[in-house]
């Protein structure tokens, strides 16, 4: 079974339920089939490697990519392409720290402790508006009509994209996101061209917006990023572009899946859905359990040891490609009791869903709030919701895994 298991994980036919494959994978905690990547699948190993300063996130340190089916994939929310300098996701300290620190200044504590909380009203407004406009309750595609537009609109507000430009922004974002999720039937050259054009247009648009915000600063992230603070705390325009692109891609590709996986899981667990309807505060532990049970980022394919390292007695040579399979670590029975059980009431829930260490999810506070609000509002307002198709059709992408559509039906929509 171990033979070809990576291929099986990437194989679309296993997309709806990769967890039995991960269970198989954990039998060989450091899996290597001779040419491909070294695959780490148990909780404690992943957890310590995420804090290991001998591992680099910078692709320049990668020397052995032969046999790694994800070696050229942008994975984990990258997708900025060679036209831009790499985002901090793909950099090591000190560059990583500098860019992440500057990006954090207008986003979170200590400098902007209220930015996310201050967006509660906005978030609520967007969620309500989308639910109001769901249309025929007999047939709703929760991805296209809700889970997709929600985070993109949110990112627009956060960055400071003017309302009237939001539709254009959405369309570029859709195209770029589609490029991250290759359709095996489409013409690859054509897809590359379309994605590249969208990137260029988005880049030009953002550059114009940044220019405008330098002149007329507003209370938004782009203005503050453009302004810079202190002597070494200024981003070049190119850095700013790659950072905004990262926020856009990573900030919505993942949240879409978190919300969709969440609704799918709730519809499969009607008792929990009923409980959430009665107790909206259940959304907080529920989202944490979701991040463990169905994490939007299944694996991190871009870590490389700077030196030969030993994990569980296996030497992983310098420059090798490594995969850290977060979703597998999250179902490791050595770490979690009944790991395959969805249990939002569990007390011990230190999951790997948002990573850990210096690259732990930058947008986590926003993603959590988005998912909490979205799921509790959907639970409250949809009357007797049911799945039309189970499992739903999944997206191609094995790394950023989630349903492409989630068709549901319900008896009505409460005010």
């Amino acid at each position: 079974m171990a033979e070809g298991i990576l291929k099986q994980i990437l194989d679309y036919s296993n997309r709806a339920n990769p967890y039995p494959l991960y269970e198989e994978l954990r039998k060989t905690p450091v899996f290597h089939d001779g040419t491909g990547p070294y695959v780490i699948s148990t909780y404690h190993d992943i957890q310590s490697l995420l804090h290991d300063p001998r591992l680099s996130s910078d692709a320049h340190n990668l020397t052995a990519t032969a046999g790694d089916p994800l070696a050229d994939d942008e994975g984990g929310g990258g997708g900025e392409e060679a036209a831009l300098p790499p985002s901090f996701l793909k950099l090591d300290p000190p560059e990583h720290d500098r860019l992440r620190r500057m990006t954090n200044r207008p986003f979170g504590p200590p400098h902007s402790p209220h930015r996310i909380d201050g967006m509660r009203g906005d978030l609520h407004g967007i969620v309500s508006g989308l639910i109001d406009n769901l249309g025929d309750p007999g047939r709703i595609d929760l991805v296209d009509q809700f889970a997709y537009p929600f985070p993109v609109t949110m990112i627009c507000r956060l960055l400071g994209v003017p309302r009237e430009d939001e539709p254009r922004f959405h369309s570029w974002a859709d195209t770029i996101a589609a490029g991250l999720d290759p359709d095996p039937d489409a013409d690859p050259a054509e897809r590359l061209r379309v994605t590249h054009d969208a990137r260029m247009e988005l880049g030009m648009y953002l550059a114009g917006l940044i220019e405008e915000r330098r002149k007329n600063p507003q209370d938004d992230m782009l203005s503050e990023l453009a302004a810079g603070h202190g002597q070494d705390d200024t981003m070049s325009t190119m850095e700013l572009l790659s950072t905004s692109a990262l926020l856009l891609i990573a900030g919505h590709e993942t949240t879409v899946n978190l919300i969709t996986n969440g609704m799918l899981t709730l519809l499969r667990h009607p008792d929990v859905l009923a409980d959430l309807r009665e107790n909206p505060e259940l959304a907080v532990p529920l989202v944490e359990e979701l991040l463990r049970y169905e994490p939007p980022v299944q694996l991190l394919p871009q870590r490389t040891p700077l030196v030969d390292i030993e994990v569980r007695g296996v030497t992983i040579p310098k420059g090798s490609s490594m995969w850290l399979v977060l979703a597998s670590g999250n179902r490791d029975p050595d770490r979690f009791e009944n790991p395959d059980r969805f249990d939002p009431y569990r007390k011990d829930i230190q999951h790997l869903g948002l990573g850990s260490g210096i690259h732990s999810c930058f947008g986590a506070p926003l993603a959590r709030l988005e998912a909490q609000l979205a799921l509790s509002e959907l639970a409250r307002r949809l009357e007797n919701p049911r799945l039309i198709e189970d499992p739903p059709p999944y997206r191609q992408n094995a790394v950023l895994r989630g349903p492409r559509h989630l068709e549901i039906t319900c008896d009505g929509i409460r005010p």
């Binding site: 310590s48 804090h51 300063p53 300290p93 000190p94 700077l306 850990s356 732990s360």
Partner: protein, 463 residues
């Protein structure tokens, strides 16, 4: 006791916890978690329910929280009889009774001592009594000092630049107050982290506008006509006008109440075995007296079985849990307390964390980041192995170094890491002060003899 007496203890026994702070509370919660159904008595000398201390030197001094609102969150109901505001005054080990200052006596089957430490007072009593002279340890201390800082003093003098003193100075500067820090050693934090890191801390003080004076002692505090402090005199002959003085000279262990009890308690704390059972004065371990938290002193296998006494928040929690577990366990089920020391501080906008026992280190290597940027990881070496690590704004790497310490990994680390800079190419002497020269009380006190190495590596610092 495989005769059912343990079951009886769990069902109807009497457990007394002396010390109603972090360690005491967590011990009580663990006892109930483990199924203890008997009588539980919590004795505390302060009139308050258990509260958290770290905010007292941080948010409270900044006016971002009040000292009254630092109650510790409860993990569960503990259904205890609370005797608050009454200190324990004595212990009769033979009769198994704790004596209280109000004359009452409380009998026990098992005793947990978690009386912690108190702030070391200014040695001159009359000067310590002056209005405007503070220490910072309790909730009342925190509230009183915060009120005085609210009033906008002209100049605050902090005596002692350990972690607490540095945090106080940082809070004062953040409030825009003028502050002088007087430190007997050569740099702030030097006792805990050595001179290499102390130099970084000194820069932090000065760049943030602290009037830092090192290598000096305060010889006298002078009061005005109204009994209010107005000036301090230094060993270098200078005088400083100041209207608030915070004495931050480390801590003293609360063991006086045990004098004459026959328990192995003294100024260095209460010695216990790795399972938290206290020793009596003959060096024989007791079966029914357990200790945890700042007041305990226990041998650590990872650090040559030296008796470590740790004033660390996390240690108080972990040791209390272990002690409570062992209290209700057969000897074969007892667990050792082998927590790796870990500590954090927040000052001048920088997050400082350490693991292991840096003060045992003779060398340090800056393995990541740079001291000049004040974002770095420093690894301490002792006899060719990694013994401790410290991070300034770099704590997400700390877990790795903790594992290196646990694995007794070689020092200097033989591998490259991300963010290795020019000054991290080789180790340098960590530059700890000569332990025979007193400084203020350090954060970690190492003492005692190890079975493997009969030399005492450090003598505890005193004022």
């Amino acid at each position: 006791m495989p005769d059912g007496s343990l079951d009886r203890l769990k069902r109807e026994g009497r457990i007394v916890v002396v010390g109603a702070s972090l360690a005491g509370l967590r011990a009580a919660e663990t006892l109930r978690d483990k199924g203890f159904e008997g009588t539980l008595t919590m004795i505390g000398d302060e009139p308050y329910e258990p509260y958290d201390r770290p905010p007292l030197s941080k948010q409270v001094l900044l006016g971002k929280a009040t000292a009254e609102h630092t109650a510790l969150p409860r993990r569960r109901e503990i259904d205890a009889e609370w005797r608050l505001g009454v200190p324990a005054s004595g212990l009769d080990m033979a009769a198994r009774r704790v004596k209280l200052a109000d004359g009452d006596e409380v009998p026990y089957d098992r005793l947990m001592i978690a009386t912690g430490v108190r702030a070391r007072p200014w040695p001159n009593e009359a000067e310590a009594e002056l209005d405007g002279v503070f220490v910072l340890r309790t909730r009342d201390d925190g509230a009183g000092l915060a009120r005085r800082l609210d009033a906008g003093p002209k100049r605050v003098l902090v005596i002692g630049a350990g972690f607490t003193g540095s945090e106080i100075a940082s809070a004062c500067r953040e409030r825009g107050l003028e502050v002088t820090v007087a430190e007997r050693g050569d740099a702030p934090l030097v006792g805990a982290l050595g001179g290499v890191i102390g130099a970084v801390a000194a820069e932090m003080h000065r760049e943030n506008g602290v009037d830092l004076r090192t290598g000096v002692m305060v010889t006298r505090l002078e009061g005005g006509a109204t009994g209010r402090v107005r000036a301090a005199h230094f060993s270098d002959g200078t005088t400083l006008e100041c209207d608030v003085v915070v004495v931050s000279l480390g801590a003293q262990r609360n063991t006086e109440w045990l004098a004459g009890s026959g328990l192995g308690a003294g100024p260095r704390g209460i010695a216990c075995d790795a399972g938290c059972r206290a020793f009596d004065v003959r060096g024989i371990v007791t079966d029914d007296v357990f200790v945890a938290g700042d007041v305990a002193r226990s041998p650590h296998p990872l650090f040559g079985y030296q008796f470590l006494s740790l004033e660390h928040w996390g240690n108080a929690v972990a040791q209390a849990e272990t002690a409570a577990h062992n209290m209700l366990s057969e000897s074969s089920d007892r667990r050792p307390h082998i927590w790796v020391p870990a500590f954090w501080s927040s000052q001048f906008g920088v997050n400082i964390k350490s693991v292991g026992v840096p003060s045992m280190g003779t060398e340090i290597m800056i393995t990541q980041g740079s001291r000049a940027e004040r974002r770095f990881t420093g690894v301490y070496g002792y006899q060719g192995r990694v013994i401790g690590a410290v991070t300034f704004d770099n704590c997400r790497w700390l877990q790795f170094y903790e594992q290196q310490i646990e694995a007794t990994a070689p020092f200097p680390p033989p591998f490259p890491t991300v963010d290795r800079r020019a000054d991290g190419q080789r180790p340098i002497p960590a530059d700890f002060p000569d332990p025979s020269v007193p400084t203020h009380g350090p954060t970690i006190t190492l003492s005692g003899y190890s079975p493997a190495d009969r030399r005492m590596t450090f003598t505890p610092a005193g004022h």
